[in-house]
């Protein structure tokens, strides 16, 4: 009995602490299962925010009248930017049987959805985007995702969309549960950044079977999953990294020892950010030799150790390091290189976070890719608007490709995250 009382007291103490924090605050977001509401970003152009309860009859006309092409994110960059989709080569009969350094081995990931024969599409009601209920399911609580949801919210507000954002904390089971929950809520559309390319087939089919249109964003699902998806939006990771790989190779005269700090194994960025450059080098720069690949995760201390160990092991053979993240990974790598006095090692990374851009300015990183997190969230909203406004929707929308170096870094400041 006494023990039970203690347990009850401990639980009460716990609750009191939580409520005390809440009471002391000036407001804040009471999260629940939704992602924390992103801080409102200053849109430079005043978007005309229409009432969600617009009459159905003229909803379409009002929806089509909304122009958010000039809308900007908190980083001052245009939110609705698409790059040109690269031409699609013919798919090999069995891509997986090709060697690891063959660019076509990754065809199913690199060109997912581009030529897919879709299942019978869910026809758009073509009654206007205003007032539509959209659920957006992301991947994790990484600050990048905060910026993604921020961009989505800015665009959704401009269109008068009722947007809900959810986060599965990087857990596939939780993401599947969120999909079930979203289906039960019967939204007008579900947007999903799948955590697993293989699992994405069932995820998108389930949404399709519930007669709810979907958009795959940020992370590319498998080609098979694209049968059930209205469109895919996100960074062209392979394109970006092939471009980055060429930039580095040209910098070092096409001859170097290269080591890779990878993204989390399994997802499309893992292949794009490691095997994108490896296959590019195998094809166009044969003297760019791969020394090693390691996946220490997104922690500066662990990446620092990996890079320091590479310097010990490879010595002067190590000339280039390609990193999957311009934040913690790059910071750890930069410190290892500095401590070893190996400023000659050229490092490049994905993304344009504040840390990444600071490292570019200080010379710690030679180049990074431009990947607007807010645009990553806003573009699927634009696709939804086109869909509900009865306009033509393409299979894929890519973020534009660009390489940021010391020469142009100021154009991309301030960072969105």
């Amino acid at each position: 009995m006494k023990k039970s009382m203690r347990t009850v007291f401990a639980i009460l103490l716990c609750l009191v602490m939580v409520f005390a924090f809440a009471a002391c605050s000036n407001g804040g977001n009471s999260g629940g299962s939704s992602a924390p509401a992103p801080a409102p970003a200053p849109a430079e152009e005043d978007a005309d925010i229409p009432a969600a309860s617009a009459d159905t009859e003229d909803n379409l006309a009002k929806s089509k009248a909304i122009d958010i092409s000039g809308l900007k994110g908190s980083d001052g960059q245009l939110l609705l930017i698409y790059g040109n989709a690269r031409p699609v080569p013919e798919r090999p009969a069995d891509p997986k049987s090709l060697p690891d350094d063959d660019p076509l081995k990754y065809w199913d990931i690199e060109y997912a959805g581009r030529t897919t024969q879709k299942a019978d599409p869910i026809v758009s009601p073509a009654d206007g985007i205003i007032g539509k209920k959209i659920i957006m399911i992301g991947q994790s609580e990484h600050p990048y995702w905060g910026a993604v949801f921020n961009g989505a919210t800015i665009a959704a507000n401009a269109y008068g969309i009722e947007l809900t954002t959810w986060n599965p904390n990087g857990d596939l089971n939780q993401q599947n549960q969120l999909i079930d929950k979203a289906i039960q809520e019967k939204p007008d559309m579900i947007m999903l950044a799948t955590l697993d390319a293989e699992a994405s087939v069932q995820q998108f089919k389930k949404i399709y079977d519930a007669d709810i249109p979907s958009v795959a964003f940020n992370m590319f699902p498998s080609d098979e999953a694209m049968r059930y998806v209205t469109a895919i939006t996100g960074p062209d990771d392979f394109g970006q990294f092939r471009l980055l790989a060429k930039t580095v190779a040209d910098k070092v005269g096409g001859k170097a020892g290269v080591a890779y700090v990878t993204h989390l194994p399994g997802g499309s960025p893992y292949f794009a950010r490691a095997y994108g450059p490896i296959s590019t080098y195998a094809q166009d720069y044969p003297d760019m030799k791969t020394l090693d690949l390691q996946s220490p995760g997104f922690e500066a201390p662990k990446t620092k150790q990996v890079v320091a160990d590479w310097i010990t092991k490879f010595g002067d053979q190590l000339n280039v390091i390609i990193l999957s993240d311009d934040s913690a990974q790059s910071e750890g790598a930069a410190q290892a290189v500095k401590e070893a006095g190996r400023d000659d090692i050229i490092m490049v990374a994905a993304g344009n976070s504040k840390i990444g851009m600071d490292l570019v300015k200080s010379g710690g990183l030679y180049a990074i890719t431009y990947q607007s997190a807010e645009a990553d969230g806003a573009i699927p909203i634009k696709v939804a608007a086109d869909y509900f406004n009865g306009e033509k929707v393409e299979n894929a929308y890519y973020l534009p490709q660009a390489i940021i170096t010391k020469d142009n870094v100021e154009q991309y400041e301030p960072a969105a995250w």
Partner: protein, 364 residues
Amino acid sequence: MSSDNSASVVTLKSNTGKVSFNTIANRFGVFLMIAVLLVVGAFASPRFFSGANWLNILSAVSILGMVAVGVSFVIYCGKYGDMSVPMVMALSGVISVEFMRYGIVPSFLGAVAVGAVIGLINGIVIGKLKVNAIIWTLAMNFILEGLIRWSYHGTQIYPDMATAVTYKTGFLLPLMAKLDPNIMNIDLTMRAENFNALAQTYFAGGIPLMLVVMVIIMIIGYFIQSKSSYGNKLKVVGSNYDVGNMSGIRATTIVMLAFMISSICASFAGVFITSVNKVGAFYVGAGYDFQAVTAIILGGMSLSGGRGNIIGVAGGVIMLGLITNILNLFGVGTFTQKMISGAIFIVVVAVNANSLRKLGKDDA
């Protein structure tokens, strides 16, 4: 593998007068493994024994070492572990970034004060109310995570950037803004550089400040745990809580202090890892709870408490750094590294448990 702190005279001979493997394994297991790893490392790279490589190994485990010393007090007193370590690190990091605007010393003091308060709460609840340590500290971890994410809207904070938006909502920042309305007007540039330089400060020959701090914490931890009256009481409480109580030891106070030490050590680690990352965020420190427990177990400390010491913990920490270094030098991939590390962990713990059993001690 473990060496009892009361055993000032090392006796390696068994009852039959022979030095048994079990006795050696019991007392020096982790260091025998380190010796084996040194031999293996020699084959991994000709530069394995270079000063630069050793600085790299020790520097890589500095933060882990600070955490492990703190958690070892919790385990030594028989409370299995402190799962709130990751968020204590994260919160201390965030607080140190916020207090950094007043200078490095207030930054450290603020972080340590926060750690001490959390440790005190943990200690009171676990020591006084007898709540299960794992469950409570896990709950505390969740509460702190929510607090940080709520206050910062899931974003990360940079030492050189005042996040004006976050000062309007949440808990921590509005409170700070109320205490000091001029908080946004302080020039952060130089102070941020000083804060970021913490992780990149080196002494003679390039010895990182982090490493020096870890060694100091280990030395202090050793004396508290093995040479002080508090350490003796901690051992008694860890060996048998009820006996400790009946012996006149204020067991709740002993346990409370153990959790405070754990959180304070995690705070130090939190400040340094935040300086390494140059960013304060809720995810900083993730995984250090389990890594610390791994190092402690490898070092021969018993989960049931009352057995082991800081020297063993230091051995466990170094061993983890060595394993990663050697496997990287051999070019072993990340997945294989995890499998090999797991296998080594199982072997060491099995040998330790077996030797304890044969020596007539429990196998906890």
